[in-house]
Symmetry: C2
Subunit: 410 residues, 2 copies
């Protein structure tokens, strides 16, 4: 049989919109021996993780815990637990991940209505509110930060509008949580899904979520005690209303995360260690300083790219601070540039999806990857690679411009 | 704000039927810096993982990859992708995890028929075949090793019987894979779901699965290209046949694991490192020697427990080699014994579920936890704790009996 070598991944500077470099303290946390899932020491760590998630989401919600799967599992857990077949769901779409919400909502049996914005822009909140008044949805589901286009949708007015109309507001904050302000309570967001592998700098594999009593009430109306755990005489939920997934059923997940610890899955121990450590690091830094750090390095990156002579993609008024999209210069093979960056310099940046494929590059400044060393290395390397590709760039300017931004900070 | 301490889990000897201790080489693997999900070096590691999974499952199936979630996610991925609403599914149940199959199949819209065996026993294959001929199901779903009762269901005759009747056979081998023979191809199992946190000694958080062309054909008939990735003119799958989950949709997952690498989720990098390392270690040891190691330590454990004077639960002819169930002696508080073992000796054993709660203890000898040191420590500690609880045990005999088993091996 073929033998397989020791794991020995090459060092990488990861400047994509996720996954990004993992904080070494988080990597270390995953190397600790595991505890059993019902060991009081482990359930104590689970409870601490819930507390820290409440801080991260800026919420007093009782429920704030991770779903054991990648970010998409958290989105599906919320949608499949909340949406009953026939529920009208309004999805404002301004990039690829809005389509994912549509896709999942449709599989939950929703009657989906969408409004779409040209990619590179976001909605004026009034446009969404008008659609609510026209369509009378039960639920609005929307992406906070669209990594596919690098745009961020203002949410602060939507929550109140939904509350007034008795609409549930579900927000995909996978790409923003921990890097950009997400004020769950103040903005009146009913459910928020976060990601680990972006601004939290924890590996992919868990999806932290939070939701309030309005969401919980709907979920509990659909609750069904699992066969094998329930009393034989207990009746299941009303037919047709039952949550179609067992693995992603929030009514069961919250029982597992409650003091009752009703057995569901076996919690992913090492990922929980990683998430707890990632949260601890984020809260030690402080959310506000952390958001400011992301803004600083974005400013340096943008200054450098502009000095190089590159053009930015999308409406600057709604640019995501943690993702910077640049247009691939005419005549340049975007994938060849990306490959050379990776192979020669060990630096990864991203391309994009659908209509933007081959048109833009996307550079992330997220979490642990969002630091001065990475920004300066990337600017120098990108310039060298573009010169190698005979692109017309202002040689020598990019790194200087970024250094100026950093110097102004002192 | 409250400050949270450094992660510092207490050392544990974990002798439950999972999760069990993780091999230190696997813990180390998770501490390596991550690679991007489409970095050729990472997709190379994904491909190696698929190759090694084929060895583990003893199959030539093209498809053998992990689902990013705990074992339950792998079970649900297979069931929800294969079962169409109205499909008749036969589930032979002989413990708690058979109920889980029922639970999940029902949520997929299956018409479930069950046959049940008193807990502590398994089915004569003829009983299952008779039920097939009576019920004419489209699918049979069955647990290979029931950790709730410590029994193992012989499967070798079922595959051929299903094949003759054009029935799909889906097997939950979460608790047996890597510790006990699971011959996917020879036994003609159509889909098999494995677990990481048991005999593979990898943390919980991934579920390796394999399936053959018969399963794939059914899944592909239900395939729907994801919105946001598909051409606007492409039509979705026929209504009513679409797979109800996006996250657990095998038709999409296999595209992600294929050379096309069609974007689905962001692969859980560190867990993939862990699984790859766990597989590498299992194959380095060799499957046959590994199964023999599990049998040796089971023999030593059983000899020790018998010498102590404890009674075993369940039919010995179908005992799972990696789980040993013992009856809690009359008058002894089982939970008090478990707590003292954990608090004083740092050793964890398990209780059980439903009708067996408070009646039996379950001791796992799985993966890295399945070693001489652990067996001897456990026997000594359990004896001491039982004496402390004034149980009537043959003091001093258990460890000696186990040592005799080990001595005979030399």
């Amino acid at each position: 049989m073929k033998t397989y070598g020791d794991l020995s991944p090459s060092p990488r500077t990861i400047m994509t919109p996720g996954p990004v470099e993992v904080d070494p303290r988080v990597l270390r946390a995953m190397s600790f021996p595991i505890l059993g899932q019902f060991d009081p020491e482990f359930t104590g760590l689970m409870n601490e993780t819930m507390e820290m998630l409440r801080h991260l989401f800026q919420t007093h919600n009782q429920w704030a815990y991770p779903v054991d799967g990648t970010s998409r599992s958290g989105i599906e857990a919320v949608l499949t637990s909340v949406i009953e077949p026939g529920d009208k769901v309004l999805i404002p779409i301004y990039g690829r991940f809005g389509y994912l919400l549509w896709e999942i909502a449709e599989r939950c049996g929703a009657e989906v209505v969408t409004i779409e914005k040209e990619w590179g822009q976001v909605f004026d909140p009034r446009e969404i509110i008008e659609a609510m008044d026209r369509e009378h949805p039960a639920i609005v589901a929307i992406v906070h930060g669209e990594t596919s286009t690098g745009r961020i949708q203002p949410l602060s007015e939507l929550g109140a509008a939904c509350r007034e109309r008795d609409i549930l507001l579900i927000v995909d904050a996978v790409a923003t949580i921990g890097g950009v302000e997400v004020k769950t309570d103040e903005w009146m967001l009913d459910a928020v899904i976060g990601g680990t592998q972006k601004c939290l700098s924890v590996p992919s594999g868990m999806s932290p979520i939070t939701y309030n009593d309005r969401i919980e009430a709907k979920v509990l109306r659909r609750k069904k005690i699992e066969r094998g755990l329930r009393d034989k005489s207990a009746s299941p939920a009303a037919p047709g209303r039952t949550i179609q997934s067992n693995y992603l059923d929030l009514s069961q997940l919250q029982d597992y995360w409650s003091p009752a610890r009703l057995n569901h899955h076996t919690e992913a121990t090492s990922m929980l260690y990683a998430l707890r450590e990632g949260l601890r690091i984020a809260l030690l830094e402080g959310l506000e300083p952390r958001f400011r750090r992301h803004l600083l390095h974005e400013r340096a990156l943008v200054a450098g790219l502009a000095a190089m002579g590159l053009d930015f993609y999308g409406d600057p008024d709604c640019k995501m601070p943690v993702v910077t999209c640049i247009e691939i210069p005419a005549g340049i093979d975007g994938e060849s540039v990306r490959s050379m960056l990776l192979e020669q310099f060990g630096i990864e940046i991203a391309s994009s999806f659908g209509p933007l494929k081959g048109k833009i590059w996307r550079i992330g400044t997220m979490g642990y990857s969002c630091n001065k060393k990475n920004v300066l290395h990337l600017l120098g390397a990108l310039e060298a690679v573009l010169i190698r590709h005979r692109a017309d760039v202002h040689a020598g300017s990019a790194v200087q411009a970024a250094l100026d931004v950093y110097a102004d900070q002192l």
